[in-house]
């Protein structure tokens, strides 16, 4: 019984680290990694609820599978956007344009 509790706690900690990483880091790839870690944490909570001693609940599994695919889709979209911006070539630091608060 305690296994899943342990893993849900690690899941929560992973979420914490992921959240901190996504906010604190500035480089786009590190941000994406942080977001993925946060995703892993959430999946860990999901899957830890799936285990009830003998019976394993298939619903969280399906959910996590879908979650992983969504995560990969999101990450690749962000990477693609980052590359397109990079290819436009100008200043790479994000300059906050004047009137945009």
């Amino acid at each position: 019984m305690t296994h899943d509790l342990l893993f849900s706690i690690t899941g929560v900690v992973l979420i914490g680290i992921g959240l901190f990483g996504s906010v604190a880091s500035t480089h786009i790839i590190k941000k994406l990694i942080a977001i993925n870690i946060m995703g892993l944490g959430i999946f860990m909570i999901f899957l830890s609820t799936a285990r009830h001693g003998m019976i394993t609940d298939p619903i969280p599994h399906a959910v996590v599978l879908t979650g992983i695919v969504v995560a990969i889709a999101g990450t690749s979209l962000c990477l693609w956007l980052a590359l397109k911006i990079h290819l436009l070539g100008e200043d790479t630091t994000e300059e906050v344009n004047a009137n945009d608060v």
Binding site: I42, I59, V70, G74, L88
Partner: protein, 498 residues
């Protein structure tokens, strides 16, 4: 009889049509064919929505469709009640007009990518409005978010791409927070279905934490004040029809979900402090949005900031809805907010279309250089003015009715300070719209440089939307009693709501 057998089938059809449209527009080669088919599907979608609305208003009962025949907890259901039917109707009508507008707005190169993404976005929207399963909502939100990001990136400029990237990151973070909330709910109650949750949910710390997480995720997507930094850039750099659909529908979809969770699903977990906190954030958003709009240099940026302000109005619902202390949600406020969504969606879409025309005609939309606009683009100015009227909430527009209902509920519940904020918001809105109009009416200028001859046909769509925004001010009776149609709560063990 025949009709009520078929009508539940409309629900899955509502999601299927945009998907099919997307598929077809990917596979089809020529642009003209792609546009033709899309318009066809848009009209079909309006008909389906109309069918749903008529069914609901005649039979006064919500519909629930169990996909795959497995029933609620195991399978996923699609549900439609008064509120979602209205939102579907609004979105289908708006999509029809925006599709007409964007049929000749995009070059061949962009239209290849525009139409599939457009239809996937609408599929996401319909899925959200129909969803009754927590995880299903997550996937639908994800579809909506990603396609919105993709559409914004269509703008092609560096600003568009940068704002798209920021929007994507915010979207991802929001969805993950929402998923975390759902995970906690699943852990606590073991079911993902909203109806089941609403009967089972009660006031314990886990529910409160999950509600706040879900709300945080959705607030990120609705861009309430502290979390709004991504909206102005995204909405102003996107192409006109995209920013119209973003401001009018996408932002409202996540607000719709917030309303669902706060008032239907997890209402026992909601408390007074949370409500007033949202109300205060809303009020600050109104004031701040208007001030920022006044300072904005570009027209589209001004309109985007006005969206931030108007969203503030929506959040006034929370403190007022349960103001009278009793858990009873007074229907008047909900009706008022729905009216706000209706009027704002139409008006904002019209404004963005007008801005789109101005941008394509002048090549830029810097407000100060738009002198004498009333001579070159009279239709665009008319659209902007009429939509402005609805935004400020002057009679006879829909905005006025919404403001009236909200004011009435504010005063009758004795919390007059919300009323003051509303009035202030109206005046501030008048300020920035007045600013644009007075520049537009200024005629002592030389001939402006023509970027692209104004096809007045495209201005026509904006104008129809503006007129719609005004006309939905009339017989509100029909809309209000449609909202009464709600799910009768199965009176299960835990107290339930009403």
């Amino acid at each position: 009889m025949m009709s009520d057998l078929l009508t539940p089938l409309l629900l899955p059809l509502m999601v299927a049509t945009p998907l099919i449209a997307a598929l077809v527009s990917i596979l089809v080669g020529s642009k003209r064919l792609r546009v033709g088919i899309s318009l066809l599907f848009a009209i079909l979608q309006v008909l389906i929505a109309l069918g749903l609305v008529l069914f609901l208003s005649t039979y006064q009962s919500a519909i629930r469709y169990e996909l795959g025949g497995w029933g609620a907890p195991l399978g996923i259901d699609l549900t439609v009640d008064g509120l979602s039917a209205l939102m579907l109707m609004l979105s289908s009508v708006l999509v029809l007009v925006l599709s007409l507008y964007s049929s000749q707005y995009f070059s061949h190169q962009d239209s290849v990518r525009f139409w599939p993404l457009w239809w996937l976005l609408i599929a996401g929207l319909n899925a959200v409005f129909l969803a009754a399963d927590a995880f299903n909502i997550f996937v639908a939100l994800e579809i909506m978010g990603l396609s919105a990001v993709a559409l914004v990136s269509l703008g092609g400029s560096r600003a568009a791409l940068m704002s798209a990237l920021r929007y994507a990151l915010v979207g991802l973070l929001g969805s993950l927070l929402y998923l975390l909330g759902v995970a906690l709910l699943y852990r606590a109650y073991g079911t993902l279905d909203l109806l089941m949750l609403s009967t089972v949910a009660d006031h314990n710390p886990l529910t409160w934490v999950s509600l706040s997480l879900i709300s945080l995720g959705l607030l990120l997507k609705t861009a309430l004040l502290p979390l709004h930094f991504w909206l102005p850039a995204a909405h102003s750099s996107a192409p006109a029809p995209v920013s119209a659909v973003l401001s009018a529908l996408v932002v409202k979809a996540s607000f719709y979900l917030l309303m669902r969770f706060w008032f239907d699903v997890l209402s026992p977990a909601t408390n007074e402090i949370g409500m007033t906190a949202l109300g205060v954030l809303g009020a600050v958003a109104i004031i701040w949005g208007c001030v920022a709009a006044l300072r904005a240099q570009r027209l589209k940026l001004l309109i985007a900031y006005s969206t931030v302000a108007q969203i503030g109005y929506l959040f006034l619902l929370f403190p007022l809805a349960t103001a009278s202390g009793s858990s009873m949600i007074n229907a008047g406020t909900i009706a008022a907010v729905v009216y706000f969504i209706l009027a704002h969606a139409l008006a904002k879409a019209a404004m963005f279309l007008a801005a789109g025309d101005i941008q394509s005609y002048y090549g830029h939309d810097n407000i100060n250089k738009l002198k004498g606009l009333v001579l070159t683009l009279p239709m665009a100015v008319a659209t902007f003015a009429i939509a402005g009227v609805s935004l400020i909430g002057l009679p006879p527009s829909g905005g006025f009715i919404a403001k009236w209902l909200l004011l009435e509920s504010a005063i009758s519940s004795g919390k007059w300070w919300w009323a003051v904020i509303m009035l202030m918001g109206g005046l501030l809105a008048a300020l920035y719209i007045g600013k644009v109009l007075s520049i537009a009416f200024n005629q002592d200028i030389d001939r402006p440089t023509v970027h692209r001859p104004a096809q007045n046909r495209s201005a026509f769509y904006g104008f129809t939307l503006a007129i719609l925004a005004v006309f939905c001010g009339f017989n509100t009776e029909w809309v209000l009693n449609l909202l009464e149609v709600q799910f009768e709560r199965p009176l299960m063990t835990s107290g339930g709501v009403q």
